[in-house]
């Protein structure tokens, strides 16, 4: 008995010692190896302006985490060149050779699907920060997939309900970039249009990468729409609006974008955007309403004094990395399954009020802003470019149902 006891004691002591030493090793290791977040975004190419701001803002989320965490986080940025193949290669490289713990990033529907595939196959959590409907659908979704960005269904839906409700007439025309983003947005607009009895008078699908849109305008002008819904992104948006202004389209119809880019208005002059209405995930004046927006803006102003305020897509870069690191904090671990569980159950206020990831498809349930480009005469400074007309609240009823997306309820 005594022998037994002493053996048990011995075992217990040894066990405790072993646990102690392994704990010590863990602590030591965690202090030297940072949590790495791979960040593939299209730094070069037509969405470069947005991507560069995403990098700036993502770094702020890293800073936020590092302030109070003993184990530091680190951002590993890669240029995906807006190409699905390039993005897949860079993502694989991030996972295999840079040994990143998480992936966040991408700025195109097709690119994010390719990043998602690579990350999911390797069992790495991926938080996407650009628009896509199909990433929520059962065929592309895995448990590793999170979607911090808005999706076309909720964005186009919010914009359409507002704009059609205010419209002078019923005639609607579309000018759509001929790829997934354009098609998904148009589907969102059309759904609301048929509910609200709008009449479609013209549809023009332009090839992606068009530099001159003028040849598409006469067909649209001839149809005499009250509203022109334009779906394209980045530099294409600026060129379209520049050329539409030159051709006098804005005097004949209300131009509407599902996503109206602050970055492009600031980069390319103010005139082309004047009077255009669109949707957005964020605009910096939200700081009057939300503490979290103020926190992001202040951090941005302090770190990048000559860049003004965070852009809407930049803020997504912040929220994407914030969401993952918040999950790490809640889980108290970087183990994939524990972080997934934490992210699924947490409520978080990254930058514009409370959000959460819906359990079935990991879509961030969040607000959508309706914004209008101010005339230059009413701007108080170069960052004062939009007014917020309306806000669609964060509510699951604006998303497609889990069943509709093919998930088991």
């Amino acid at each position: 008995m005594a022998v037994k006891l002493s053996r048990r004691k011995l075992l217990a002591t040894a066990g405790a010692a072993a646990a102690m030493s392994s704990f010590k090793i863990n602590v030591a290791r965690s202090q030297e190896t940072p949590i790495k977040i791979g960040f593939p975004v299209p730094i070069s190419g037509p969405y470069g302006t947005e991507a560069n701001d995403q990098v700036r803002c993502a770094q702020l989320a890293i800073d936020w985490f590092n302030q109070e965490s003993p184990r530091k986080a680190e951002l590993v940025v890669r240029d995906d060149k807006l190409d699905p193949g390039e993005a897949a290669t860079r993502t694989l490289e991030l996972i295999e050779s840079d040994k990143v713990d998480f992936i966040c990033g991408s700025l195109s529907a097709s690119v994010q699907l390719s990043v998602n595939q690579v990350a999911s196959k390797r069992g790495v959590i991926y938080n996407s920060i650009s628009q896509s409907d199909s990433i929520n659908e059962a065929s592309d979704f895995t448990k590793y997939t999170f979607h911090e960005a808005l999706n076309p269904h909720m964005t186009a839906g919010a914009v359409a309900r507002y704009v059609f409700g205010q419209a002078k007439g019923k005639k609607v025309a579309y000018l759509i970039a001929d790829y997934a983003y354009g098609h998904e947005m148009q589907r969102g607009f059309r759904r609301v249009a048929s509910e609200m009895g709008m009449e479609e008078v013209a549809e023009v699908r332009h090839p992606l990468g068009t530099t001159d849109y003028s040849a598409f305008f006469p067909r649209i002008q001839a149809a005499r729409p009250d509203i022109l819904l334009v779906v394209n992104f980045g530099r294409d948006q600026l060129n379209t609006l520049k050329q539409a202004t030159d051709f006098g389209l804005k005097e004949q119809m209300q131009i509407v974008y599902p996503v109206l880019l602050d970055t492009q208005r600031i980069a390319g002059g103010f005139d082309p955007f004047e009077g255009v209405i669109g949707g957005a995930n964020y605009y910096w004046t939200l700081e009057d309403e939300f503490e979290s927006a103020k926190r992001l803006n202040d951090a941005y102003r302090a770190k990048y004094p000559d860049q003004g305020v965070p852009s809407a897509y930049g803020a997504l870069g912040y929220a994407g990395v914030y969401g993952i690191l918040k999950g790490v904090k809640e889980a108290g671990s970087t183990k994939t399954d524990e972080v997934i569980a934490a992210m699924e159950s947490m409520k978080y206020d990254a930058y514009k009020g409370e959000q959460y990831f819906r359990k079935c498809d990991h879509q961030a349930v969040q607000s959508v802003l309706i914004i209008k480009a101010k005339p230059e005469s009413e701007m108080r400074n170069q960052w004062d470019i939009f007014e917020i007309l309306d806000t669609q609240p964060a509510d699951e009823k604006f998303l497609r149902t889990c069943e509709e997306l093919g998930h088991k309820a």
């Binding site: 190419g45 530099t211 040849a215 006469p218 067909r219 001839a222 520049k242 051709f247 390319g268 002059g269």
Partner: protein, 291 residues
């Protein structure tokens, strides 16, 4: 399709075609006289837009940038000819082709490093902003100016080549360089200048396109493809061919945009294929330019 719609679409096509004409003209000029396929042409177009944007930024004067661009970009072109292309003369057509291809990549990366990957703004000059009433329809002033500017450049080039003694030497050099050398003309200098002019026109095209398309590092990439399509349709080395084909491609793009917008980009390649089926040397191509 009503008459006013037809005319609007036609004018739009001509304005589009003007840019095609200018980029193809420089490419064709260099090929026709030096038998060099300049793969860096699109990047000289891009350089033109950047030099224009910086001139505009410093001076605020769009017209000044139209003068500065051809001088600076043409000068860079002449340096490239003198120190990079010249050692390769007489080594076959593929040597300068590979060289200019690499040169294009280097120019692109240099601009990304120096001016950033995001591009720089370029607003339409105030005087040319807005639209003008052409009785049938409203048309942007700047695009009318673009058509006009292209016509002026064509006229100047025509006078240079056809009405001056220098043009005579250039044309003679293109026909038979040995005889011209025997007559005591320094043919190397002629080629230097021709290369410079071709590149300068690409630069002007870049700054003229800037208020419409914006200024960014990759803007020259599609332009090289477009310029090649136009040059092939018009006939390699034919200046008249470049002009006619440039306008034809612009108008084809414009009308395809009206009837089948999804096919707009494809239309120029279909046109090229059709032309090559019926006229393998292009509309105005000479026999044996590549032989």
């Amino acid at each position: 399709m009503t008459l006013d719609l037809f005319l609007l679409q036609l004018f739009t096509g001509l304005a589009l075609g003007s840019i095609y004409v200018l980029v193809a003209l420089g490419l064709s000029l260099i090929f026709g006289l030096l038998t060099i396929v300049n793969f860096a042409h699109g990047q000289f177009f891009m350089l033109g837009a950047y030099v224009g944007a910086f001139t505009l930024g410093f001076t605020g004067n769009f017209w000044l940038s139209l003068i500065v661009v051809p001088i600076v970009v043409g000068g860079i072109g002449m340096l490239c000819e003198r120190f990079l292309v010249r050692p390769l003369y007489g080594r076959g057509i593929d040597y300068p082709l590979l060289l200019t291809y690499g040169l294009g990549l280097i120019l692109l990366e240099l601009v990304r490093i120096i001016a950033g990957t995001q591009g720089v703004p370029f607003n339409t000059p105030r005087l040319l902003a807005g639209a003008v009433d052409l009785h049938f329809f409203f048309f942007p002033k700047y695009r009318l100016f673009l058509i006009f500017a292209t016509a002026v450049i064509l006229l100047a080039l025509w006078i240079l080549l056809e009405k001056t003694s220098y043009g005579l030497i250039i044309r003679a050099g293109a026909r038979d360089q040995e005889i011209v050398q025997v007559l005591g003309v320094d043919i190397g200098r002629v080629w230097l200048i021709v290369f410079g002019i071709g590149v300068a026109i690409a630069g002007i095209a870049g700054v003229l396109a800037a208020p419409i398309r914006g200024v960014f590092p990759e803007m020259g990439v599609p332009v090289l493809v477009e310029a090649f399509v136009v040059t092939v349709v018009g006939g390699m080395g034919s200046l008249l061919g470049a002009v006619i084909a440039g306008l034809l491609v612009g108008v084809t793009f414009s009308f395809t945009s009206f009837f089948y917008p999804e096919m707009a980009t494809l239309s120029m390649f279909v046109l090229m294929a059709l032309v090559l089926v019926f006229r393998p040397r292009g509309l105005f191509g000479r026999a044996g330019v590549l032989g």
